[in-house]
């Protein structure tokens, strides 16, 4: 009964989505304020019914209702409760219901936090979001209904959630990722709405920025979590494989990064207006493309949901309609836009342009590599080819190095024109960085690697320039502490974001070059040494979990004879799905991870054991979180708070804080 209620709720939501797409739009073109105002309540109604639908599905999982096909395929009575709940988004249908619910959530948020928008603009934006939601709900109802019953068959128990997914990672990674993916619909809607008005001013950029920054921050968190989860879950210490599904999330992120910078320039300088619109269209397009890649089965991936061409066709059709339509609208409406303010080669505008084009190039490269097997197979009539990490690393890393070099000087460059002296003086921080990093490598006794020194020095150069800029802003003021608060949150967001990149760079580089690992045979009593640590295999025991039994090894870690920690890697056997899983154990720390995993038992009481030493690997995800924090910080900026407050303070503070607070990115 509840299940049918959930299904019905989804249908009602569809009706509301139609109303939201149509009525406010009619209100805009017929200039009827009342119809336009309905957008707010329609958005609320849409969200409520989507939420109800989701809750009904959650209820089915909670009560182990295996007459629902989706529950039967993905759950089990012995499954721990937190995984029963996260199993809701453990496979295609339920995860897409989550996606759609999040869409409803963003739509509601836009309707609530749109005080700065004109009624007309708000109606347009919400109507567009409503129209997109129609497509999502139709997809659910027509091809991916999570509420389908298995009746007349009634399974005694469910097939269980894949053991790989029975993990904290499943609880957090997809929701964060979808918040980001779906959130890109908001700048998209703003961009399309602006195009429909025929007026391409910079206001749309001002409205879109907080939404885009937050969506991008969520996407950053989602990708970071995914990488971290893969690392500790998969048992071989990898954290990025350039898999089609990973790329599907990375491409919108790259475009999103270009977009947040471009929006900043458009808001502050009024330039790149049409280019920013195009980027906003691209960002959401890549989100949709991502959904297509993951759910259509066209590309092979460990992460992809089950193959279903019918669903793929639907998404492709939706893609054609939405993106094709947007790009056509773009071409028509942007034609004839007069060119805008000028700037010099050395300006910050140029820097952002460089940032944008490098990111778009990188995205193009990733897209090419991801789709190439398809292209090749079509070209050669059936021959298969693989494009994997060696290709992506070879192509992506050089582009990123160029970007990082630009990043070192960009945040502190000036609008319109930066004095050449600024650039020529960069040799000082560059040299300082190289010397510091070189010294560190020397004193730590690590083997020398030119690439590591180069990349780490670049990261340090970036940070040095940021620190110099920050301290100069604060140093000029008589009162240091209050001036800390005078800096805008957008500025702090920028600092955090860029520092986060530097931290992640250092993590990636160091771990790639200085990781040590050994796979070997160990019996109880054996000791192996790696990277200055000793790993002693104490004993093997059997362990019973909630829905598995496991062979667990006790491995003691010593450094110079002093006990540091004990690790317990397991080989688990899940009864319901008959899957065997390796559960690695990790001793995490800021500067290194120690990682142990079990292989197969080999004769006697010996086992194959893998031991890893991974320096600085946590910096990768720590950096990712800093970047995301930077994105979230920007919405705390006071200009997004009540308009009247800004008017009161503007007169008083404009003289005093002009040179301080106006340096925001």
């Amino acid at each position: 009964m509840i299940v049918e209620l959930g299904h019905f709720s989804l249908i009602l939501a569809l009706g509301l989505a139609f109303s939201l797409a149509l009525l406010p739009a009619v209100g805009v073109y017929q200039r009827q304020p009342r119809l336009m105002q309905m957008a707010g309540s329609l958005s609320a109604g849409l969200f409520v019914f989507l939420l109800l639908s989701f809750v009904c599905l959650a209820y089915a999982f909670w009560t182990d209702d295996f007459s629902v096909a989706y529950v039967a395929r993905n759950s089990n009575s012995a499954l721990p409760l937190q995984y029963k709940m996260s199993a809701i988004w453990g496979a295609h249908e339920g995860s897409f219901l989550l996606w759609t619910l999040i869409m409803g959530g963003w739509t509601l948020a836009v309707s609530i936090f749109s005080r700065g928008l004109t009624l007309d603009m708000r109606a347009r934006v919400l109507a567009i979001l409503g129209a997109l939601t129609i497509g999502f709900i139709l997809f659910l109802l027509l091809t991916s209904n999570p509420f389908d019953r298995t009746l007349p068959v009634f399974p005694a128990d469910g097939a269980d959630l894949n053991p790989l997914l029975q993990d904290f990672g499943l609880i957090v990674h997809p929701p964060m990722l979808y918040m980001g993916y779906v959130g890109m619909a908001v700048p998209f809607a703003f961009a399309i709405a602006t195009l429909t008005t025929g007026r391409l001013d910079a206001a749309w950029a001002r409205w879109s920025r907080p939404w885009t920054n937050v969506a991008w921050a969520f996407l950053t968190v989602g990708i970071t979590l995914g990488s971290w989860w893969a690392y500790y879950e998969l048992g071989w210490g990898g954290w990025w494989f350039w898999d089609a599904v990973e790329n599907a999330s990375f491409m919108p992120w790259l475009i999103g990064t270009a977009l947040i910078h471009s929006l900043a320039v458009t808001e502050k300088r009024g330039v790149f207006k049409s280019w920013t619109v195009l980027l906003a269209i691209f960002a959401f397009s890549f989100s949709l493309l991502g959904a297509f890649i993951v759910r259509s089965g066209v590309l092979t991936s460990v992460h992809a949901f089950a193959v279903d061409p019918e669903r793929g066709m639907f998404i492709l059709g939706f893609l054609v309609l939405v993106i094709g339509g947007s790009l056509l609208l773009y071409a028509i409406k942007v034609s004839g836009i007069k060119s805008e303010a000028g700037f010099d080669w050395t300006s910050r505008e140029t820097m952002v342009l460089v940032n944008n084009l490098l990111l778009v190039t990188a995205t193009g490269a990733v897209l090419l590599g991801t789709l190439y097997p398809l292209i090749y197979e079509a070209m050669t009539d059936g021959k298969k080819i693989s494009v994997g990490p060696p290709y992506f690393n070879a192509v992506f890393v050089p582009l990123m190095l160029l970007l990082f070099a630009a990043m070192a000087v960009s945040p502190t460059s000036r609008w319109k024109k930066t004095p050449i002296a600024f650039f020529t003086q960069q040799w000082r921080p560059m040299l300082a960085s190289v010397l510091i990093v070189g010294a560190l490598v020397f004193f730590l006794g690590s083997s020398f690697s030119g690439v590591v020194v180069l990349v780490d020095a670049m990261a340090l150069w970036i940070v040095i320039n940021l620190v110099r800029d920050f301290s100069s802003k604060v140093a000029n003021k008589v009162q240091k502490i209050p001036s800390l608060f005078r800096q805008s949150m957008s500025y702090y967001g920028m600092l955090l974001g860029h520092v986060g990149i530097a931290v992640a760079m250092i993590g990636v580089c160091t771990t790639v070059y200085y990781t040590e690992e050994k796979d070997l045979r160990m019996a109880p009593g054996d000791v192996v040494s790696l990277a200055g640590y000793e790993f002693r295999f104490n004993e093997m025991r059997k362990v019973q979990g909630p829905n598995y039994i496991a062979d667990q090894a006790e491995i003691e870690v010593l450094e110079h004879g002093v006990r540091q920690t004990v690790l317990f890697p397991e080989k688990r056997f899940y009864a319901a799905s008959r899957n065997v899983m390796t559960e690695a154990d990790i001793d995490p720390s800021l500067f290194r991870d120690l990682y142990v995993a079990l292989g197969e038992p080999i004769g006697g009481d010996a086992w194959a054991v893998r031991v890893h030493y991974k320096p600085f690997v946590r910096w990768i995800w720590f950096g990712g979180l800093l970047i995301a924090l930077g994105g979230f910080t920007t919405i705390l900026d006071r200009r997004y708070r009540a308009v009247k407050q800004a008017r009161q303070t503007s007169a008083a503070s404009s003289v005093a804080s002009n040179s301080a607070s106006s340096a925001a990115v």
């Binding site: 001013d201 397009s285 893609l319 034609s335 789709l371 298969k384």
Partner: protein, 209 residues
């Protein structure tokens, strides 16, 4: 170090002006690129099963090997024993459920189709394999014991069952991956076999084994 952001900002609200030519051509580039992308993606729907790998060994001699025979442990069989006539080589194992599914059809082929069937017992235990054949009957002329899977690797095998069609010279002409059903035989394997047989009978030179 201020950033000089003091210029009067021109908030230009540019109106879109219809130019003489209508749409600026370069703005259609993104759309054109998108259309190309969609075409590539649609191609994906028409392609073969993504898990299917075409064989690298078509038109090549069967790989050399020298391994034991399953039911006669003292006897060594080699690649030469596969020559002489058009034949099927089937890769199977007791742990492979699809091999059991295709077995009746293999029995039928060995009885009715008049061509020899050779087996490769892949990554298996010989005792189990012999018992399996006793229980389910043996369609094979002989079985090659590939308990390490090395011959399988040389053949580019990636999962059992697989079936190869050899011509009289021992050259691999076709590989089928997956169970051989009646339908697979009629639609896929038999045409290849018939073609090879007709080619063999047309040529007047006698092939030496």
């Amino acid at each position: 170090m201020s950033d000089g952001n003091h210029d009067v900002r021109i908030d230009s609200s540019d109106r879109s002006v219809a130019t003489n030519g209508g749409v600026n051509k370069s703005l259609l580039i993104p759309l054109a690129v998108f259309v190309g992308l969609v075409m590539i993606l649609s191609v994906g729907f028409n392609l073969e099963d993504p898990h299917f790998l075409p064989s690298e060994l078509i038109d090549q001699q069967f790989p050399e090997f020298s391994l034991n025979e399953l039911n006669a442990p003292d006897r060594i069989v080699t690649h030469k024993d596969l020559k002489g006539q058009v034949a099927l080589v089937n890769v199977w194992a007791t742990w492979c459920p699809n091999c059991l599914i295709e077995h009746p059809e293999l029995m039928r082929i060995s009885r009715e189709e008049g061509l020899p069937l050779y087996g490769i017992n892949y990554n298996d235990e010989s005792i189990k394999a012999r018992q399996w054949l006793v229980r389910h009957n043996n369609p094979f002329q002989f079985n090659i014991v590939d308990d390490q899977g090395k011959l399988g690797i040389d053949l580019g095998v990636y999962g059992a069952p697989e079936t190869f069609v050899l011509d009289a010279n021992g050259v691999i002409q076709y590989r089928h991956v997956g169970p051989v059903t009646r339908r697979v035989w009629e639609e896929t394997l038999r045409p290849v076999v018939d073609l090879l047989l007709s080619q063999a009978s047309q040529s007047s030179t006698v092939m030496e084994g």
